[in-house]
């Protein structure tokens, strides 16, 4: 059933305008990948969808060429395939024998690309205008690169760590040198004490109890 409709459409449009054909110098090829984009929620491509397409293209032309009242009949479509791809050309609303040149059509599509895409719930990749390069969105550039911020944080933490280490080792050294003079004072006192004690106990050495081996053994 779908095939018959498509065939009739092709026939109709072919009968209508021989200027529309593949590789025409005045038009573009369009390719839709509905199933890739929407998966299970994909809609069926039928003549109503085609009407929407022609209407949105007419809208794009009106936006671009101010004043000229493009109608759906000004957008001529031909060579529809099962892929869902087709060619289209645009006629001028003032004189249907005249075609709008490619540059104007391209500019118009470029300008309203987003609107056309969203009418079909598709993206630049899935609603493809062959030979019209999409204007790619640049990534958001931050005023300060985020990596510099993280770097600053880590660097600050590490520097703080080093300063703490150095300061604490200097403080420890100072504590040691403060304790050392105290220790030396203590040593002197004990030595003085022992000397005193030694004097007190230094009596007469009783030779008989000494085991002096300087005397020869008997």
């Amino acid at each position: 059933m779908l095939d018959k409709i498509l065939f009739l459409l092709c026939l109709a449009s072919a009968l209508a305008d021989e200027r529309c054909m593949p590789d025409t110098p005045h038009g573009f090829q369009v390719r839709l990948s509905i199933k890739t984009a929407l998966g299970d929620e994909a809609y069926v491509w039928n003549e109503n969808e085609m009407f929407l397409f022609r209407a949105s293209l007419a809208f794009a032309m009106r936006n671009h060429m101010n004043g000229q009242q493009f109608e759906v009949s000004n957008i001529i479509v031909c060579n529809e395939t099962m892929r869902v791809s087709f060619w289209f050309i645009v006629t001028s609303p003032l004189d249907t024998s005249q075609l709008i040149d490619q540059e104007n059509v391209e500019a118009a599509i470029r300008q309203s690309r987003n609107r056309i895409n969203s009418a079909f719930l598709l993206t630049d990749k899935t609603l493809e205008f062959v030979d019209i390069l999409p204007t790619l969105a640049t990534l958001y550039t931050h005023p300060t690169p985020p990596w510099l911020i993280v770097f600053g944080v880590v660097m600050g933490a590490v520097s703080a760590g080093i300063i703490i280490m150095l300061v604490s080792s200097v403080v420890q050294k100072k504590r040691k040198t403060n304790r050392k003079p105290q220790d030396e004072d203590d040593d002197e006192e004990t030595r003085v004490k022992t000397v005193e004690n030694g004097d007190a106990h230094d009596g007469i050495h009783n030779m008989s109890f000494s085991e002096d081996e300087r005397f020869t053994k008997m």
């Binding site: 390719r31 990948s33 509905i34 199933k35 890739t36 395939t81 099962m82 892929r83 869902v84 791809s85 390069l133 204007t135 790619l136 969105a137 640049t138 990534l139 985020p146 990596w147 510099l148 993280v150 770097f151 880590v154 660097m155 590490v158 520097s159 760590g161 080093i162 280490m165 150095l166 080792s169």
Partner: protein, 595 residues
């Protein structure tokens, strides 16, 4: 009482963790999986383990024994063993210095990637747009976003080693940060290093484990692991397999740098290093295998994604060329349709024949990469395809950092310890060494810096280490004497080393090292002019280029400078002894005359 008692590790566990942290480094992650793949997957484990038993563990044991016995850094230790061979220690220090110069740049890259992971879209996932906003930047399109980010935004690489631009400021900042962190870890010697290694040795395993789980749940990971572990036994007949296994064990354990001697010199005299040597070597090899399982899971995932992307591209191409409805071809019947369409519409098909039919999963799996390319290009590409990629990216680069910093600590200690033995320990010695390496290493952050890095990486430490360890093992076995060495070990451990160790030290290991040494020299000579991979901006890929004359001269200088320390020092000591001997004789003669 000693004024400056030698500092010690707080516990034997700290020492073991320090050795593990040092030995388990980036090579386990980016060299071993490559070798495994090149030499027959699971079959490579056989030569690997044989070499571990025959060469790895005995040499590791020997270095730990020397350090613990002599209680000095490498220069002091070797001078004590044999005054003429103090040059071995000096050569170790020089080689460690070369390594310290270039190794930290890898950590700088890890920091760079880590800091760039804190963005909603990872910068290496998409190509930046050109000025016209019509298409991605050309260089990025021809290469891939990950390659572009590495070569252009990280390195800003020039096209040959001769061309040089300025310093990449972002790189230089990250490089400064890595040296500041290294300084922080060694500023108090073993006290600070000992605490840091608790973290650097254990956290990488946590990350590897997380990645193992993540890896195995990835789509297509099993392809990679199956591919890796299917042993291709015919590779065992290839001598290169055995040579590569021996070389990998040798370099993976970090022998010859003097770091092991430095670490073990801070041990208690009676520390049981025999058990620790075996433990650390086994842990190191186990980690290599563990890391390669993870790597191959990631490989499998990446290969499957690439293969499916290729199929998808082919499918779209077929649909567009032949205007078929979208749901006629899906991923499973692409190849059937190719045949069908080729048969029915031969002419039309011929026009696109070049772009179809070349999607091959085996080919994707067979692309093996090693070195920084694996870590920073292949892995980052795989990460961009995972959900929650920022988290995985942060985890991964933190792991790389810890592995790298752990190895750096060992090498910095290998330089600082012998210097500290010579003069009074200065608080600023560590700082001076770090500052010196930082200033010289800034050269690696220039636009041609990566090519200089490759020179250092390929030639700075390889040949010299083989030479150093060969001299070491011959010295210990023959000049110092294996009997004396045995007695020293018995003194420390309480029992003599097994006959197995003695045979290895006296016969097998030196023989093996000589074979490796000869092979290395033969390879170098037969290889013709040394070449490197230069990044071609227009083509968007690496091109094999020969080194210019000054590059080759520099390589020769690198090789000669560390190796020549040994004969030069021996000569110097010999001359000094003769002078002393003469002076003594004169003195005796005078005394005899006067008396």
């Amino acid at each position: 009482m000693e004024k400056d008692a030698r500092p010690n590790w707080d516990s034997p566990m700290q020492f073991v963790l320090a050795c593990v942290s040092y030995a388990v480094g980036l090579g386990n992650v980016w060299r071993f999986p490559y070798l495994c793949q090149m030499h027959g997957g699971g079959g490579f484990l056989i030569p690997y383990f044989i070499m571990l038993l025959v060469e790895g563990v005995p040499l590791f044991y020997m270095e730990l024994a020397i350090g613990q016995k002599m209680r000095l850094g490498s220069i002091g230790a070797w001078t004590a063993i044999s005054p003429y061979l103090g040059g071995v220690g000096l050569a170790s220090v020089v080689t460690s210095l070369y390594l310290c110069l270039y190794y930290n740049i890898i950590n700088a890259w890890s920091f760079w990637y880590l800091f760039h992971s804190f963005q909603s879209v990872l910068p290496w996932a998409v190509c930046p747009i050109n000025a016209n906003r019509t298409a991605p930047i050309e260089e990025c399109e021809r290469a891939s976003p990950t390659q572009y980010f590495f070569y252009r935004e990280t390195l800003n690489i020039s096209s040959t080693i001769e061309e040089n631009g300025g310093i990449h400021t972002g790189q230089a900042l990250c490089f400064l940060l890595t040296w500041v962190i290294t300084y922080l870890c060694v500023v108090r010697g073993v006290q600070s290093t000992g605490k840091v290694v608790y973290f650097t040795a254990t956290f990488p395993y946590v990350v590897l484990f997380i990645y193992l789980i993540r890896g195995f749940t990835l789509h297509g990971a099993v392809n990679g692991v199956k591919y890796m572990f299917t042993p291709k036994m015919n590779q065992l007949a290839n001598p290169t397999t055995w040579i590569n296994a021996a070389t990998q064990i040798f370099f993976s354990l970090g022998l010859g740098f003097g770091s092991l001697i430095a670490f073990s010199s801070y041990n208690q005299y009676n520390n049981n290093f025999e058990r620790q040597a075996i433990t650390v070597s086994l842990i190191n090899s186990g980690t290599s295998i563990f890391a390669s399982i993870v790597t191959f899971a990631i490989y499998g995932f990446k290969a499957t994604i690439n293969y499916e992307n290729c199929l998808e591209r082919t499918r779209i191409l077929l649909l567009n060329t032949f205007n078929l409805a979208e749901d006629t071809i899906n991923m499973d019947n692409v190849f059937e349709w190719i045949e069908k369409l080729n048969a029915t519409y031969a002419e039309q098909f011929n026009e696109i024949a070049n772009d179809t039919g070349n999607c091959d999963l085996e080919k994707e799996l067979a692309t093996a990469v090693e070195g920084p390319g694996l870590a920073f290009i292949v892995y980052s590409e795989a990460i961009t395809n995972m959900p929650l990629s920022q988290l995985w990216s942060v985890l991964y680069f933190v792991m790389l950092l810890l592995l790298g910093v752990g190895s750096m600590l060992g090498n910095i200690t290998a330089i600082i310890t012998p210097l500290q033995d010579f003069k009074a320990a200065s608080l600023f010695l560590a700082g001076l060494v770090c500052l010196f390496c930082l200033l010289l290493g800034l050269g690696f952050t220039t636009t041609s810096g990566n090519y200089w890095f490759t020179i250092f990486n390929d030639y700075g430490a390889t040949f010299s280490l083989l030479f150093i360890v060969l001299i070491e093992v011959i010295t210990v076995s023959y000049i110092y004497g294996i009997k004396r060495f045995e007695k020293d070990i018995e003194d420390m451990l309480g029992h003599r080393p097994n006959w197995y160790w003695k045979i290895m030290w006296v016969a097998i290991s030196p023989l093996l090292l000589i074979v490796l040494f000869v092979f290395y020299i033969v390879n170098y000579i037969m290889g013709g002019t040394p070449t490197y991979q230069a990044w071609d901006k227009e083509e968007g890929k690496s091109v094999l280029t020969e080194y210019p004359v000054f590059g080759q001269v520099f390589i020769a200088l690198l090789l000669v400078s560390s190796v020549s320390c040994v004969p030069l020092t021996a000569l110097y000591v010999f001359c000094r002894k003769r002078k002393h001997g003469k002076a003594h004789k004169q003195q005796h003669a005078l005394n005899a005359v006067s008396a």
